[in-house]
């Protein structure tokens, strides 16, 4: 079952039926039960005083809850047959749906012949990371941005992602709570509250009586022209040198930071001054610091225009940056970006630099009307970072602001009712399957054809002819490479059943993997070896197929 919300209880309370879900029926004999025990996911200890919640799928306001008894047991009786979402929460544990993995869980299928009275519901003990940020005077740093990165397997691939952000309070204190065990990094981005980065510009006529002026730039007081570099725990300048924090179940880790100011760098930027006879245009600079593994953090810098075409950017720490220069004049605007590594005061000449490539195009739906508020998304295959654009009513889209860095992107589209990319073609970029390769400085015009994807496959995951719950079911397209948008996933429910919807017509293989949740399935070579024992299907438009899939055990860890 796919969970559509983050918090299971919230989800369970959601108002409206998910369409096309099997519904529990009121007229059915209501003499079934959901019962079992809630246990600590690590120690197996029975958990009393946990709140357990059930909700019949497709029936609003059918939720009910109870607290577990001293022996950790819970039981709901007099239930009609149907699909139920089961979730639980308890202080000190993560609120979870039953056997939750990523955005999936195992629904409880209640009915004749189903044993749903001996469930064992493990709740993972939650962990936390907290700490204090202090400055060189040993004063707390207030309103410091603290960023939590997590490293692990996500959507079938190893990745490091930005898990959460926090701000320190008046004591310099921050905390990240409700964490799953895993590997984390913590970084702090802050500025000395007293820093002064403004330069003073004085002008005078070059020669008495002349219109031509020259500028005298008075730098800020060096003692106050200081910055804190982005600091990873423990005292590292970037993710590569950072100490990973291994969080074990139920543990509270501490990561304190003592920030030390360093002299800020000054960057002189030369550019073609925007403007015309009707007046000058605007120039502004956006600076993002590279902190590792493709992640960037915005740096709040000060920039002053010394004269049209000459900018002084101050307040920069040493490091690697993406520097983007936005210029506008009337309705004309352009964006130019460079990546630089700064170790000292520097000068960058943007004049004559190529404007950033734009990615634009049109989306067409081949089996219906494109819903209002559709989006197109580009997922960087190296970093996993996603950039998206809203599609206008006429199907046109332009990636505004920052354009795509050179690289490979998985292209997907979404909108109400669901859709998938049927075909992709481009000028200026290289297309293979549903992926796009963007080269530096090259405008890309895309034509995207999407379909509603009306095919549906449901079935049962079987091992030795017995249904198995909690297995990962993957619908794999005939061509594995560059077709992420065609994959569909589900988790088998308590009777081994699963549902895969929104499928485009075509040939697929369905595989069911025990312990598949730890599998690096995004890698085609990993998935390849499970395909021969999978179930091969051909999905026609509007097809509704029923299949039986053999459960395989994933060996990769």
């Amino acid at each position: 079952m796919i969970l559509s919300g983050f918090a299971p209880l919230l989800l369970a309370l959601s108002a409206f039926a998910q369409q096309d879900q099997p519904r529990a029926t009121a007229d059915a004999q209501a003499n079934f039960a959901i019962a079992g025990v809630v246990v600590d996911g690590v120690s197996g200890q029975l958990l009393s005083q946990a709140e357990v919640f059930i909700q019949a799928q497709g029936i609003p306001d059918s939720g009910q809850s109870m607290m577990t008894n001293d022996d950790g047991s819970f039981a709901f009786y007099n239930l009609a047959s149907g699909h139920y979402t089961l979730s639980a929460r308890r202080r000190g544990y993560l609120e979870q749906a039953y056997k939750q993995h990523e955005g999936f869980s195992t629904a409880i299928i209640v009915g004749a012949g189903q044993d749903t009275s001996h469930l064992r519901f493990p709740l993972p003990p939650e962990a936390s990371i907290s700490g204090e940020v202090t400055d060189e005077m040993n004063d707390p740093v207030r309103q410091a941005n603290v960023i939590l990165f997590q490293r692990g397997l996500r959507s079938g691939r190893s990745a490091t992602w930005r898990r959460a952000g926090a701000s320190t309070d008046d004591r310099g204190h921050y905390s990240f709570t409700h964490l799953l065990p895993g590997t984390y990094f913590v970084a702090v981005s802050a500025q000395p509250w007293y820093a002064q980065h403004d330069v003073e510009i004085m002008r005078r006529a070059s020669n008495p009586g002349e219109v031509q002026t020259e500028e005298l730039i008075i730098p800020p007081d060096p003692a106050l022209d200081v910055v804190y570099p982005v600091t990873f725990f423990s005292n590292a300048p970037n993710m590569a040198d950072a100490a990973p924090i291994t969080v074990r179940p139920g543990e509270a880790e501490t990561a304190d930071f003592a920030l030390h100011p360093i002299s800020a760098l000054h960057l002189t930027v030369i550019c073609d001054p925007p403007g015309g006879p009707d007046g000058p245009g605007n120039v502004w600079a956006e600076v993002r610091e590279a902190v590792g593994e493709g992640w960037h953090e915005g740096v709040s810098v000060h920039s002053a225009q010394i004269r049209p075409g000459l900018l002084e950017i101050t307040g920069l720490p040493p490091g690697g940056f993406d520097l983007t220069l936005h210029t506008s004049h009337g309705k004309e605007s352009s964006v130019r970006s460079v990546s630089v590594h700064l170790a000292e005061d520097s000068k960058i000449d943007f004049s004559g630099a190529a404007v950033n490539a734009t990615v634009s195009g049109v989306i067409r739906m081949d089996d219906g009307v494109l819903p209002a508020r559709s989006f197109i998304q580009f997922r960087n295959r190296n970093t996993g970072e996603q950039v998206g654009a809203q599609v206008e009513e006429n199907g046109q889209f332009v990636l505004r602001g920052r354009s795509l860095d050179p690289g490979n992107y998985d292209v997907s589209a979404n909108g109400s009712g669901g859709m998938a990319v049927r075909s992709l073609s481009a000028t200026g970029g290289k297309v293979s399957g549903r992926s796009l390769e963007v080269a530096a400085g090259q405008d890309v015009k895309l034509t995207v054809v999407v379909s509603k994807g009306t095919g549906r496959v449901s079935g049962v995951a079987l091992k030795d002819d017995q249904p198995v719950d909690e297995v990962m079911v993957v619908l794999v397209p005939e061509v594995l490479e560059n077709n992420l948008d065609l994959f569909r996933r589900d988790q088998s429910d308590s009777d081994g059943s699963f549902n895969l919807a929104g499928i485009l017509p075509g040939k697929y293989t369905i595989i069911a993997l025990e312990s598949g949740w730890d599998l690096n399935w995004y890698d085609p070579t990993v998935l390849q070896k499970y395909l021969p024992s999978g179930e091969h299907v051909e999905v026609a438009p509007n097809a509704k197929l029923q299949v039986k899939v053999k459960v395989q055990t994933s060996f990769q860890k």
Partner: protein, 558 residues
């Protein structure tokens, strides 16, 4: 009209990232000075280490104080300069919101200035824990702090800071200037438990409550925060049944987007509406029992019409409502400007006038800003503003809710408001009743240019004393106006024993004028005003006249 002695500050603080100045070849200053001083805690008198002192001598110069709180600026030219101090956890009095304190000035020359003692006021902090029925910490509960201030003679409570409790149920609200506060916690966003089937009203949660208990400000205990006060509040809340509002609308939601708002006590709630356009239904999240006002708005693209519906609900169980959308309530506003002066200089755009400005600004100009305030029991009652009608000297107030309104009009030109009428109703004295479905008569605003000006001189009791002037019309004391005192800042040796004020665009007539030593004087409260009215000076202001008056400062308060 607020006149604050801010002129000098405006001159020295550049709003831009860089400070620009003319670089002129000046004759070398004959003498430079050292400006030195000390930064101390206003409560304890202890020196403050690492405070940032900024001296605005031509350009801002900045220094951090040493461990003894001392600072020194060298090579300062002669002149009078403003000084500012900053340090996290402290306030500098002139920069407090609504502060009447004037910025300290350093006078360099002809002699070395004496060492300055600059005081920083330590912040107040309210912190503590919130616990539930069985003593468990309540997590993710919103906590808001409201501050009470008197602005323009009227007591106002405004939200000042907000936060959420953490996993331990702890909250911290720091950076509170000295003052009077109220603390509000809740409501819980997700029910804390479901003791039975939610469909049977079994959801329970924590309703919003003011400290120490009670759903509204009347039952709240004010919390006085003195400088540097750290107040701990540990507070146990009781859960109560939560309910839900569901409903339908008499319109097709697939083609028109419905926006819903739920208010309680005039405050908008983050109600988490779920709208299903396909089925045509909506639903709120779980809410505590109470009186609610549900407002729906939508735009009909086929007719271009704005629609609305409003329903009052007393929520004591799960309820289902049907919202009947009707055309929105809009009231036209017309203006009549009576000019009598031959030298009359109308506003930035002349209605029916001539000249470049007239045509350029005509589309957005109205002779007065008109504000309707809904008379409701609310922390900050809702206000509706008249918007100019394109290319016309008229305005319209859109999307009013049924109810009673008070009206204020602020001239955009050299006029005073002589009358505001709706038919025979005098809106300067009476409320405007707006009802659903009824005909909405236009509001007529009459402005005249033969205004009076009051030009005052005030003898202060101490150098740099702050104060406020209140001008009270004899026939309608509720329409009093105020102004702050000013003097000529930045001029070395300026007389700071005498301050001035000017209030213009007054309707001719009889007034009482009062200068008080408290800028937060609550003159709109008749009981407060009455106590000091006998000390006010009576004055008759004639049309087109500038009247000079000399006054003393009256001490108000305890």
């Amino acid at each position: 009209m607020h006149f604050r002695p801010l002129l000098l500050w405006l001159l020295v603080f550049s709003p831009f990232g860089s400070f620009e100045a003319a670089w002129q070849l000046q004759p070398a200053e004959p003498k430079a000075f050292n400006v030195r001083g000390k930064v101390v805690n206003s409560t304890t008198g202890e020196p403050i280490h690492g405070a940032l002192v900024q001296l605005f001598a031509g350009r801002p110069r900045s220094r951090l104080t040493g461990p003894d709180g001392q600072f020194v600026f060298e090579d300062v030219p002669a002149g009078t300069f403003a000084v500012q101090v900053r340090k996290p956890g402290f306030f500098f009095a002139p920069q407090l919101p609504f502060s009447a304190a004037s910025p300290p000035m350093i006078i360099a020359g002809p002699d070395e200035p004496p060492p300055a003692t600059l005081k920083l006021i330590p912040e107040g902090i309210i912190y503590g824990h919130l616990f539930g029925d069985s003593g468990e910490p309540l997590e993710s509960l919103p906590v808001q702090v409201f501050c009470e201030r008197t602005e323009n003679g009227r007591k106002a409570r405004t939200e000042f800071r907000s936060t959420n409790t953490d996993q331990q149920g702890e909250f911290r609200l720091a950076e509170l200037p000295p003052g009077r506060y109220f603390v509000l916690a809740g409501p819980s966003r997700v029910p804390s438990s479901f003791s039975a089937r939610p469909s049977q009203g079994g959801a329970r949660g924590y309703a919003a409550a003011f400290y120490p208990s009670g759903p509204d400000l009347a039952s709240a205990a004010p919390i006085e925060i003195a400088p540097g006060k750290h107040l701990e509040i540990n507070w146990t809340l009781s859960s109560q049944p939560f309910y839900r509002i569901s409903g339908t609308v008499n319109a097709d939601l697939r083609h028109q987007s419905l926006s819903l708002q739920l208010t309680r006590g005039g405050q908008a709630l983050a109600s988490g509406f779920q709208i299903d356009p396909e089925i045509g239904t909506f639903r709120t999240q779980w809410l505590p029992a109470g009186l609610y006002k549900l407002t729906g708005r939508m735009h009909d693209p086929s007719t271009g019409q704005e629609l609305f519906a409003m329903q009052n609900l007393n929520l004591t169980s799960n309820v289902t409502v049907r919202l009947m959308m009707v055309p929105s309530l809009n009231i036209p506003v017309t203006f009549q400007v009576q000019t009598t002066r031959s030298d009359s200089q109308p506003g930035p755009a002349l209605f029916g006038g001539s000249g470049l400005n007239a045509t350029r600004n005509r589309q957005t100009y109205v002779p007065a800003r008109v504000v309707l305030t809904l008379q409701e029991q609310a922390l900050s009652p809702r206000q509706f503003y008249a918007e100019a009608v394109d290319g016309d000297e008229a305005a319209v107030i859109h999307n009013l809710l049924p109810g009673a309104y008070s009206i204020e009009a602020f001239p955009n030109g050299p006029y005073y408001v002589q009358a505001v009428r709706s038919g025979a109703l005098n809106l300067l004295e009476q409320n405007l009743m707006v009802g659903a479905g009824g005909s909405l008569q236009p509001i007529e605003v009459v402005l005249r240019d033969d205004f009076a000006t009051l030009d005052g001189s005030v003898a202060l009791q101490g150098e740099g004393q702050s104060g406020m002037v209140v001008v009270i019309p004899e026939d309608s004391p509720q329409r009093a106006r105020n102004a702050n005192l000013f003097w000529q800042p930045g001029v070395p040796g300026a007389d700071r024993q005498t301050a001035g004020f000017e209030i213009s665009q007054l309707a001719p007539g009889s007034y009482r004028v009062l200068v008080v030593d408290d800028p937060s004087f609550e003159y709109e409260n008749p009981d407060v005003l009455q106590k000091y009215l006998s000390q006010a000076q009576e004055i008759l202001l004639g049309p087109n006249q500038r009247t000079k008056v000399t006054l003393g400062v009256v001490h108000v308060g305890d």
